[in-house]
Amino acid sequence: MLEAKNIHYTYPSSSEPVLKDISISIQPGQVVGLYGPSGKGKTTLARILAGYIVPNRGQILVNGESMPEKGYNPVQLLQQHSELAVNPRWKVKDILSESSPPNNKLTTALHIKESWLQRYPHELSGGEIQRICVARALGSETRYFIADETTSMLDAIAQVQIWKVLLAAVEKNKLGILAISHDHALLKQVCGTIYFFSENDGLCPEKIA
């Protein structure tokens, strides 16, 4: 289980806290949605959960233990601007195999084409780079996925294709996913539980009809 316990966070440059006493947990095999207005700390929470930012107070536990500082992190983050998450000087095949050699089944399911491998990121579209990032982050040691607006830059077909792959991993490997999006319809499609993120009350679970 991926747990965030009583997280507080204030950016060094600001006096207002972005996150006040936020707790959330994601079970293996569970897709949790997070929905709410922008600029209220959803992305900060995503980065804290994936270990990119250390919270001021509170802790992140992966299966009851604190997150490893070195080595492969079982929690992987997929962000909106995928082009920032790849080294512009690397060829696609190097990016794909940064963690482990790419899995053929996975690349086929993500419609990653052979012809992309010799290209550089600026020669691919955002949707194509995002597929590469998904394939890279879906290593065998990945247990939890934080999908922060992962598909909001992409067209509907690319969105479906990427989510089908993620949901298949949830089924098969008991992956846990936190999906953050403005697109309520998308969250209703992919998530079992949806939380609404509000400034005053933190996270409120939302009933799904």
Partner: protein, 311 residues
């Protein structure tokens, strides 16, 4: 108001150290836009839709070559005339608030846009005040800095900057990407309001859902060209799409089934050679032999214009 005829854009690029190849990311584009109309260009992300906007504003990169004609009010646009039009008659609504100067109060930025658009100092001040009233912004907002704005306010300021000098053609490139639903609504309502006042708007987006809420016509972009142009009756949704790609795009929307029958891919055409067959043929379940050898034209099919031999 705007007429695009047989627009082709080719890029030369290096595929290894010294050999150049040409890409043809935009071809056979025919489109017209009349006053009071919103046309949405919808298609795969990164597929080259934005190039159309860049071509109209003449801000293509230097290694691009353009063929075909773009007319604005019956006059050809070229590198010389666009200087007179850009910012005055034709304006761009950028993608995000990061296009605002963070160090200048927003009132001044709107005013400056008006000055650049050719108004005198006095006129610009009045136009700025008028724009703030019109877009429902309190006069105090004029003295705020961009970081002090809420999302919705920032969206209104961006629109105010684009329209303060009275532009009659508005080009919006992916204006709703990454916005929360409230801001999307604010933006779409503003766009509709401007169109109802007689302006023409070209909305470039990957979000078919947003497009169908506001556009008069939707042009579906795939593989570097328009594969379908469909009229939308007021308030209704598009349900009469014909081209297999547009159908796939429609069915992939979370509200309409979230299914993946199609593929969002199109390979860019290389070079200037005539395409052999339909570009969608590999992903199409209705493809026949003739689809592989004949390049389809955009032809009327029912109320739509469709680039498909089976339409």
């Amino acid at each position: 108001m705007l007429t695009v005829k047989d627009l082709n854009i080719t890029f030369s690029r290096y595929y290894n150290s010294f050999s150049q190849t040409t890409l043809n990311p935009l071809h056979n584009i025919d489109l017209n836009l009349s006053a009071g109309e919103i046309v949405a260009i919808v298609g795969e992300s990164g597929g080259g839709k934005s190039l159309l906007a860049h071509a109209i504003l003449d801000i293509l990169p230097t290694n691009a070559e353009l063929k075909g004609t773009i007319q604005f009010r019956e006059k050809l646009i070229d590198s010389n005339t666009i200087r007179q039009l850009r910012g005055r008659e034709i304006s761009l609504i950028p993608q995000s608030v990061s296009y605002l100067n963070p160090l200048i109060r927003v009132g001044k930025q709107v005013c400056r846009a008006a000055r650049i658009g050719g108004l005198t100092k006095e006129e610009a001040r009045m136009a700025t005040d008028a724009a703030f009233t019109r877009f429902n912004l309190a006069p105090e907002v004029q003295s705020l800095f961009p970081f002090q704005l809420s999302g919705g306010m920032a969206q209104r300021i961006l629109v105010a900057i684009a329209t303060v000098a009275g532009a009659s053609l508005i080009v919006a490139d992916e204006p709703t990407t990454g916005l929360d639903p409230d801001r999307v609504t604010v933006f779409l309502d503003l766009l509709r309001m401007l169109a109802d006042e007689g302006k023409a708007a070209l909305l470039i987006t990957h979000d078919l859902g947003a497009a169908q809420r506001v556009a008069d016509r939707i042009a579906v972009f795939h593989g570097g060209t328009l594969v379908e142009v469909v009229k939308i009756a007021d308030g209704s949704e598009v349900d009469n799409l014909v081209h297999p790609y547009s159908r796939a795009l429609w069915e992939a929307l979370p509200d309409n089934g979230f299914s993946t029958n199609g593929s969002s891919f199109s390979s860019h055409r290389h070079g200037n050679d005539e395409p052999l067959g339909c570009l969608f043929v590999k992903n199409c379940d209705r493809a026949e032999h003739r689809c592989r050898i004949t390049y389809p034209d955009l032809v009327p099919a029912g109320n739509n214009m469709v680039r498909c031999l089976n339409a």
